[in-house]
Symmetry: C2
DNA sequence: CGATCACCCTGACATAAGTCACATGCCCGG
DNA sequence: CCGGGCATGTGACTTATGTCAGGGTGATCG
């Protein structure tokens, strides 16, 4: 019997996934979490064979939770299940020690199969996604460039960003400018969006 | 036996929902669609008792599909199932003749119950959401104001928007300015985001 | 019929955003 | 221990945005 933990913030989707996996004879849902912190805590207590983590969750996101669970529960295989097949996400998932990276667009029939393969020691990654991650190259942005992009993504003005980050306005402008240049777009809005899309933030 | 059609673009979620509903004795999944257009076509052929539609789908979105299905299959109850409980979405769903508006955050156990209530002729809406939709008031933006906001949401410059909409740059600036004023924010980025959040686009 | 409103445009203006050149200091790898 | 990259800053500059004050049209409605 494979003992599975489920972490997904949308109740209905989580329940539906539990129903889907419950149909399999050799799988057992032993815990369900609604956010990253709860997932880490539960994994420590329940020690499941597999932790299936969504990325987009309140609190600690799935990637952070993955790293923590790997550190705290060595025998637990971590699988990432996400809506967005962003190259940067895949990269970070691998760095966090994940055994699988699945997107919610994928075929429902193969989820259980993926879990079994992971338990058998395999790694499960969509080949197309792996290629995209490799061809996209690593994150070109420096820490500070990422900071100003996220701080400004909500429509904040340069002055706002400078205040929030305790920087001078000129510095913020310079970071934004270099980020825009690196990403190869025309303004910070496009920069924030493409960076987001690639999982660079 | 209640005959249910499922429309949801994420394969895995759709399969999981099917598994969840398949556990109920009195429910039967008679069709599954991956986008709005397919949902309309299938509903016309299969004539289900209930159509469970996601909003965020490629092609025709769930709200558009809801209106079309209501027109083409009068006996079919349409239920909206969405990630985002945006007031404008709820309003549009009601105008499209939907019988229920559920968010994916909600409790999984109540989905089947909601379907039964809808078939019995009830309307199922989250009370908190209904209150929010009423207090938020109707969409304050004019058609053109919405147009410029969506055209500019990808980081496009004023000139880009003007070209795409066959308008003069000054006109675009004016629409953006009035949209910003109406929404009560400081720039078009915030305007686009809050409008999006409220389901005004 | 006249008021009102969405729609479209122009021109002028103030401010915000983005670019460039050039500093300083820190730390890390060759 | 020196070069290069990153973090941080300044000042000057160009361009993009947002605001204001107008002036036209056509449709709708009391």
């Amino acid at each position: 019997m494979i003992r599975v933990m489920l972490a997904e913030d949308q109740n209905l989707v989580r329940g539906a996934l539990a129903a889907l996996l419950g149909l399999e004879e050799d799988l057992e849902i032993v815990a369900e979490a609604a956010d990253g912190d709860e997932a880490v805590a539960l994994a420590g207590r329940v020690r499941p064979d597999v932790a299936l983590l969504d990325i987009e969750m309140p609190g600690a996101d799935g990637l952070t939770a993955a790293a923590r669970i790997r550190a705290a529960v060595p025998g637990c295989h971590v699988m990432i299940l996400t809506t967005f097949g962003r190259p940067g996400y895949l990269r970070r998932a691998m760095e966090a020690g994940a055994s699988a990276f699945l997107i919610k667009d994928g075929p429902a029939e193969q989820l259980a199969a993926a879990i079994r393969r992971v338990v058998a020691g395999e790694r499960v990654i969509d080949p197309a996604l792996a290629a995209a991650a490799l061809s996209a190259g690593p994150n070109p942005l420096s820490q500070r460039e990422r900071d100003v992009l996220v701080a400004g993504s909500g429509g904040a003005t340069i002055a706002d960003i400078a205040t929030r980050l305790h920087l001078s306005e000129g510095t913020v402008r310079n970071y934004l400018s270099s980020a825009i240049t690196k990403v190869g777009v025309r303004n910070r809005i496009e920069a924030a969006q493409t960076a987001e899309r690639n999982g660079w933030l």
